[in-house]
């Protein structure tokens, strides 16, 4: 048990390293923190998927009409 906790402690000790890395790298922190940009991304994605599906359905209907003739 003692060995396991020690191992766990060692395994988790690397997290301290990442605490520092946040200072240097400012990767889109403004976007992802409280700006709720994911909501916008999701909505745009939904709209695009809807339009794409609509295009596919038009394509399918057209195929049906073409096959009738």
């Amino acid at each position: 048990m003692k060995k396991l906790t020690f191992l766990l402690l060692l395994l988790l000790s690397y997290t301290g390293v990442f605490a520092q890395s946040n200072i240097g790298v400012t990767m889109d922190d403004t976007l992802q923190s409280s700006g709720k940009i994911y909501v916008v991304v999701a909505i745009i994605a939904i709209i695009f998927v809807g339009l794409a599906l609509y295009l596919f359905s038009i394509d399918r209907r057209l195929k049906k009409i073409e096959n009738e003739k």
Partner: protein, 224 residues
């Protein structure tokens, strides 16, 4: 021409554009003055013009093909390519205007790029007007094919060459750098190239749908 009835490349087009919605909006972009986050428009505004170019090039190809062999289908393909191209043209103009509002200060500032884009837009509108004003089918096809072949290089000169020879606010003009400088070291290509390719395919897809509808309409009119 069989591929226009197949689905695989349409799926690829949708997936490409779909991926850019995430990579384009969430990945890191260089922090530049004036532009700020609007630099992400590069993934959405520029591909509109790429889509337009794709179908306009195709329409010239079909116009030349029509003049060579006189097949009516080639004429119809050329027209529908131009129709689709004009949709993407309008999208490019409007998105460009909105972007200009927040970076150049005005929707329309009479910038050489904007002005010549508007002129070239009218050039292609004139193509449709010319086409619709001729009743006789073969004459209409021939004249509009010739017009189309001449309109294309003029459009290229107006949009891509003349503005670059003068001072324009648009990137790539008058010593104003295009985005190529920035995307090299910032991984913007990850979103930019798929967007260009994906929207080109989507423009092509819409053009093929319009062409297929046109074929059916044409057949129906021929019987009557």
């Amino acid at each position: 021409m069989k591929f226009i009835y197949q689905t695989w490349w349409k799926v690829i087009a949708v997936l490409l554009v779909f991926s850019t919605l995430f990579t384009g909006l969430l990945l890191h972009v260089p922090a530049l003055p004036v532009l700020h986050e609007t630099i992400r428009n590069l993934y959405f505004h520029v591909p509109m013009w790429m889509g337009m170019l794709t179908v306009f090039v195709l329409s010239v190809y079909f116009s030349i093909k029509y003049l060579r062999n006189g097949r009516e289908e080639d004429d119809l393909a050329a027209v529908e390519c131009v129709n689709t191209g004009l949709l993407f043209y309008a999208m490019g103009l409007v998105t460009g205007m909105l972007w200009a509002k927040y970076t150049w200060g005005q929707f329309w500032s009479g910038d050489p790029k904007q002005n010549s884009a508007a002129i070239a837009f009218l050039l292609y509108c004139a193509y449709l007007v010319l086409r619709n004003s001729i009743d006789e089918e073969q004459k209409r096809a021939k004249i509009s094919a010739i017009y189309n072949i001449f309109a294309f290089p003029i459009m290229i000169v107006l949009i891509f060459i003349l503005p670059r020879m003068t001072d324009s606010l648009h990137p790539g003009s008058g010593g104003n750098p295009a985005f190529g400088k920035y995307d090299l070291d910032n991984g913007m290509k990850i979103a930019f190239y798929p967007a260009m390719l994906g929207w080109s395919f989507i423009a092509l897809w819409i053009a093929t749908i319009r062409y297929r509808i046109r074929l059916i309409e044409n057949k129906k009119n021929a019987i009557n």
